[in-house]
């Protein structure tokens, strides 16, 4: 699948961002994700639960989007669909203009590997791999040459302030450092889209703030599309666009904010 790619590994603070700027420009107004009347139903023990209802959503390239909503509103389900980890029960899902309804699980896995970076709430780093090896992992899945992926991983970790910690194992890192490694793993391979499911949920407010700074910097300077979920108003306020979910449906941001402020 042809897709625009940056020429270099992501280096947020590196000088001369010509290629990244060009990428951001060329990708403008290109829909990365489009959902048409997407619904998701879970069935368990003859019980039917409608997690998402007729979702229409388009996310353009280089957007910095938060999916907000209270617990149980369907944020994770929607992120799983957008991240191609799950398939809708109804409706259509397009990734980079491609209808995914006919894609096999292998094709979806390849799309995830090549085009999407993931940041999980619980970091989910491989405990037996160092920060550097974790960062390299997805690129190794792609079959990238060892020297190239290692250079890209080093560059990314250094850029994210982990240059001194790249040989440490996850259990030798703090929560904030682990999440930064997770972000490095997500962006080192220059994906089209980064999905982050409540990335700050396990972090203290200062570390969460720092992580949000990092993600918005990557978005701003490299044009990486970020879609993340949160129910933290301070995190939500950092997004350029808020998609508010309530009971499996997208609702107006204002009404959600009101509802949310009551909940908080």
């Amino acid at each position: 699948m042809a897709r625009p790619r940056a020429d270099k590994a992501v280096v947020p603070d590196a000088p001369g961002r010509a290629s990244s700027t060009k990428k951001a420009t060329t990708m403008a107004n290109t829909s990365v994700i489009r959902l048409e009347q997407v619904g998701k139903v879970f069935e368990q023990k003859k019980q039917r639960f409608q997690a998402l209802k007729q979702i229409d959503l388009t996310v353009e390239s280089s957007e910095f989007v938060v999916i907000a909503g209270p617990s149980g509103s369907g944020k994770t389900t929607l992120l799983n669909l957008i991240g191609l980890l799950d398939q809708p029960s109804s409706g259509k899902l397009f990734f980079n203009g491609r209808d995914l309804s006919q894609c096999s699980s292998t094709e979806l896995a390849q799309l995830r590997r090549d085009q999407i970076g993931f940041v999980f709430q619980a970091y989910n780093l491989m405990p037996v791999l160092t920060a550097l090896e974790n960062t390299e992992m997805v690129m190794e899945f792609r079959g990238m040459a060892a020297d190239k992926r290692r250079a890209a991983a080093r560059k990314t970790l250094t850029a994210l302030g982990l240059g001194e910690l790249m040989d440490r194992y996850p259990d030798q890192l703090s929560g904030g450092q682990q999440q930064r490694v997770a972000v490095a793993r997500a962006v080192a391979g220059e994906p089209m889209l980064v999905i982050a499911d409540e990335p700050t949920a396990n972090l203290d407010s200062r570390t969460a703030e720092s992580l949000m700074d990092l993600m918005s910097q990557l978005n701003r300077e490299h044009g990486i599309t970020f879609i993340f979920s949160s129910h933290d108003p301070r995190v939500i306020s950092r997004a350029k666009r808020v998609i508010s979910l309530c009971d499996g449906s997208i609702v107006a941001p204002v009404s959600l904010a009101v509802e949310f402020s009551h909940a908080v």
Binding site: A109, L111, F118, N124, V128, L129, M137, E140
Partner: protein, 422 residues
């Protein structure tokens, strides 16, 4: 190191306690398997070795029809010429002896016992037989030790079993009368012999119903010329018995000669060896099941405990094949380590018993008998390299086989559920 091998190796090292416990179990079973296999095969070889030295031979050449009717009507008449022919055509041959077996009655005073008389070449027989060799002699001399000139009594010597001597109530130097039915006559042929030696093999059949005498005396007693019952061939390796017997059977005229292997002539001994080997194979199966269960348990627990990790790998785009490879490498590393260590320990044990031997009398307080054969007090471990390689390879293949299920299970995890796994 490639990612899958790195993950596999480090996961084994991460769970050191579990890996160590599993390794100890597999190493112990593999090393014991080699040790038992060596002792078992060594024991079988000892059984066969002793069996063939108790009046048998590796390969036996008879006149056609002798085995169906072991009478004087089916004797080898040209044994000398046939023997010379065999000497030239069987390079594996180490010894060849002639024997004349006669059924007869031995008497001393009022006591009489029906026995088998074995006429042998004393000088040759002593090299291949344990029936009446020096080690078996309780009293007196072996036939080979007897002077060529007869004693003052002028009687030929005979060596009899210890039980037979008791039944006849005779001792060294006593006179016994032996009667046989000679060829082509209804009258019995009788001759007096002097008991010059008493042997004990531990086998009832030999000790109570067997006597050995010079083949010339036996031929004279049965009124025969140079006829013999059998030509017994002893080879340099028991493993060559089959091919040599087959070759001889095709070389010698089938209408005149019958070529049999030791296991055909002594099926009870062969059955005893086979039965014991079957017991060993059963033990092997148990060993294999233990190894399989241990590895399956380790890998399955390892996979289940890492559900989230595999889920994350799959979510990030790892192919199911890569996940399968990670699990397989883990099992392979574990198996190779255990096979190497278990193999080395087992071989060291085998080497000890192959050089020092295992003294059964010391260990069990008694001598063992199997298939009518009294085993030696000490026997030596023996390993067939092919058999050992097969067993170790089988453990390896078994490991990979039992890993299929956990590997497939890991590769088919749904990323969404797996990443939520605690």
């Amino acid at each position: 190191m490639k990612l899958e091998r790195k993950l596999a190796m480090r996961n084994l090292l991460r769970n050191r306690q579990r890996s160590l416990l599993t390794s100890i179990m597999i190493v112990a079973t593999v090393s014991l398997m080699i040790l038992f296999q060596g002792l078992s095969d060594g024991g079988h070889r000892a059984m066969v070795d002793i069996g063939i030295k108790m009046g048998l031979g590796h390969v036996l050449v008879y006149q056609q029809g002798y085995n169906d009717d072991p009478s004087l009507e089916h004797l080898l008449v040209d044994a000398t010429a046939t023997g010379q022919q065999l000497q030239q055509s069987v390079p594996e041959l180490t010894h060849m002896v002639r024997r004349l077996h006669l059924n007869g009655l031995i008497q001393a005073g009022a006591n009489g016992v029906p026995i088998t008389l074995s006429g042998v070449d004393p000088g040759l027989e002593v090299q291949v037989s344990r029936i009446a060799d020096r080690k078996s002699m309780m009293a007196g001399q072996t036939l080979a030790e007897l002077p060529r000139e007869r004693s003052g009594h002028g009687l030929p010597g005979i060596v009899i079993g210890e039980q037979l001597a008791r039944n006849l109530e005779v001792g060294l130097g006593d006179r016994v009368t032996v009667s046989v039915k000679p060829k082509g006559s209804s009258d019995l042929s009788r001759e007096a012999f002097l008991v010059t030696g008493i042997f004990k093999t531990g086998m009832q059949e030999l000790d109570a119903f067997w006597a050995e005498l010079d083949i010339a005396d036996a031929q004279r007693l049965a009124r025969l010329g140079q006829e013999v019952s059998v030509l017994a061939l002893y080879l340099d390796d028991v493993e060559k018995v089959g091919p040599v017997a087959a070759r001889l059977a095709s070389q010698l005229p089938a209408d005149k000669y019958e070529v049999l292997r030791w296991d055909q002539v002594a099926p009870e001994l062969h059955s005893a060896v086979m039965l014991d080997a079957a017991g060993m194979y059963l033990l092997m199966v148990i060993v294999f099941v233990v190894v399989a269960a241990a590895i399956l348990n380790t890998i399955l627990i390892s996979v289940m405990k890492r559900t989230r990790e595999f889920g994350v790998m799959l979510a990030l785009g790892a192919s199911p094949a890569l996940v399968v490879r990670v699990v397989f490498w883990e099992a392979l590393f574990l198996a190779l380590f255990c096979i190497a260590l278990g193999g080395a320990l087992g071989y060291a044990g085998h080497h000890h018993f192959a050089t020092e031997g295992l003294n059964f009398r010391e260990v069990f307080g008694t001598t063992l008998e199997a298939g009518g054969v009294l085993l030696p007090d000490r026997f030596f471990s023996f390993i067939y390299p092919g058999k050992l390689a097969f067993c170790l390879l089988f453990v390896l293949l078994l490991t990979l086989l039992v890993t299929i299920y956990p590997a497939i299970r890991a590769s088919r995890l749904a990323p969404v559920e797996a990443t939520r796994h605690g």
